[in-house]
């Protein structure tokens, strides 16, 4: 992992390859096949492995701070795979350029690893809101005696893209203890009061699988008469399920309750379906205040504030994402 950014070594190699190919922010994209060949030259990582990492760096739903901008079919959160690297292109995002500058020592370290976490890669470090982490770091630089509680209050809870609901023992997480977080899609009742809308799926959930699972839970099983009480709890009273996902509005399932079931009742049952919710075990390598303080202590305050401002600029120009 890059010591000065918290970005992984392979990720750094991909960013360096893009820079070497001239794929700077706002400039022309480069074909990913060429980027992967350059990565293989640099660190010997086979293109098939490096491509998965490159895709994660560019997919808008994986991490709060995209390091790469992609063009072409980068796959969906569902079952649609990305196109071959010969048909997709990439260039550095502004945050990617800041990461490279920090890794090279042109600017002081930036906390990109702390912001993005590694849950997207099946790790345990959750992501945090980028601006909140920057604000917390500024606070600890400007007021070294700031309390741990103030710091964790400013940082806030883990922040997953797409606005899924996160619940869990955030105090334990901030104290460095492994914690189970529950990530839940948002459930709302349609304006016409006829259906339940599921959107804002957790980033680790595949909405296509969830749709399939909901449909299967709506099928009547032959043990219905034998176990009526269990059937009431297990059977999903759905009369219709529509996938209204779009590129623009993200993943969205419309669930129409069956006759005799209110949308509110269906909404309650949907909350207990794995796929509408998921759980992850989250853990930080150290207590959150200690992580923030170690950043602040490592370099002169003025240099850190400059690098934080560069990162803040990169966040500001990052395209809005759902």
């Amino acid at each position: 992992m890059g010591d000065r950014t918290g970005v992984g070594l392979t990720e750094c190699a991909i960013l360096e390859a893009l820079e070497a190919l001239g794929a700077h922010p706002g400039r022309r994209y480069r074909r990913n096949a060429a980027v992967l060949a350059a990565v293989e030259d640099r660190i010997g990582l086979a293109p098939a492995y490096a491509y998965e990492i490159l895709l994660d760096l560019a997919r808008p739903w994986t991490m709060p701070l995209s390091l790469i901008q992609g063009q072409g079919n980068f796959g969906s959160r569902g079952n649609e795979p990305a196109a071959s690297p010969s048909y997709t292109e990439s260039r550095l995002a502004a945050a990617g350029r800041v990461a490279l500058a920090a890794e090279r020592g042109d600017i002081a370290p930036v906390p990109i690893g702390l912001i993005n976490g590694n849950v997207y890669a099946k790790g345990t470090r959750p992501p945090f809101r980028p601006q909140a982490v920057i604000d917390a770091l500024r606070l600890v630089i400007q007021r070294p005696r700031v309390t741990s509680k103030e710091l964790t209050d400013v940082t806030g809870p883990p922040y997953f893209l797409n606005g899924c609901i996160v619940t869990g023992d955030f105090t334990a997480l901030a104290a460095g203890r492994p914690t189970v977080l529950r990530l839940e899609a948002r459930l709302s009742i349609s304006e016409d009061h006829h259906s339940v809308i599921i959107d804002n799926f957790p980033p680790t959930v595949n909405p296509d699988d969830t749709a399939q699972s909901l449909a299967s839970r709506a099928r009547v099983r032959d043990w219905e008469a034998q176990h009526p009480s269990l059937h009431r709890r297990a059977h999903l009273p759905l009369s219709n399920l529509r996938d209204e996902s779009t590129q623009r509005h993200g993943d969205r399932l419309i669930c129409v309750p069956s006759h005799g079931t209110s949308p509110e009742q269906l909404q309650e049952q949907l909350r207990d379906i794995y796929g509408v919710y998921t759980t992850i075990t989250a853990a930080l390598p150290r207590p959150l205040p200690a992580l923030l303080r170690s950043w602040a202590r490592a370099y002169p305050a003025e240099e850190l504030l400059t690098s934080l401002a560069a990162l803040e600029d990169a966040i500001r120009i990052q395209p809005a994402r759902s």
């Binding site: 869990g168 529950r182 909901l214 759980t279």
Partner: protein, 162 residues
């Protein structure tokens, strides 16, 4: 084998998916075990779900089930998992079950860990000391508390409280 009533406690703290909701609700993985019973699968429940059914307020993350090792039951398990799995293609093929030690399947009830090797080794012993506990109206065969604790200590290094 004794027939116990459902445990009196209902109501554990958030946030784990498996913790209980309002009174009368079961952790989702416990319901998974009941659904397997309804589907005709023969197994003994162990792990945190078993401890919860024994009345211990632990968070329940998944359903750990020791599967009775006979061909008919494995076929039944395969069919049930095909229906329950979020990704039916991820369910191991039936012919692989006799050689697998574990089949871990993500379902709409969370993860179900089918402990196949444990079943081949310990089925008779676990079944003899197990108790049947009603979940909704399905009787789930739950390993004796001492067995559950011993298995957790052996494989996860956790105590009865954790």
């Amino acid at each position: 084998m004794t027939h116990n009533p459902a445990p009196a406690h209902r109501g554990h703290p958030a946030p784990d998916a498996g913790t209980a909701g309002p009174a009368g609700h079961y952790p989702v993985p416990v319901l998974a075990a009941a659904v397997l019973v309804a589907e005709g699968v023969s197994f003994v429940l162990v792990g945190s779900a078993a401890l919860w059914l024994h009345g211990q307020p632990v968070p329940v993350g998944d359903a750990d089930v020791v599967i009775e090792p006979n061909g008919q039951n494995l076929r039944c398990l395969g069919q049930a998992l095909d229906w329950l799995a979020l990704r039916p293609r991820a369910v191991p093929p039936l012919r692989a079950f006799p050689a697998l030690s574990l089949a871990s399947v993500i379902t709409s009830y969370g993860r179900i860990d089918c402990l196949l090797e444990r079943g081949r080794i310990d089925w008779e012993r676990l079944r003899q000391s197990a108790v049947r506990i009603p979940v909704a109206d399905a009787g789930v065969l739950v390993a004796a508390r001492a067995e559950v604790v011993a298995l957790r200590r052996r494989f996860k290094g956790v105590t009865a409280d954790g």
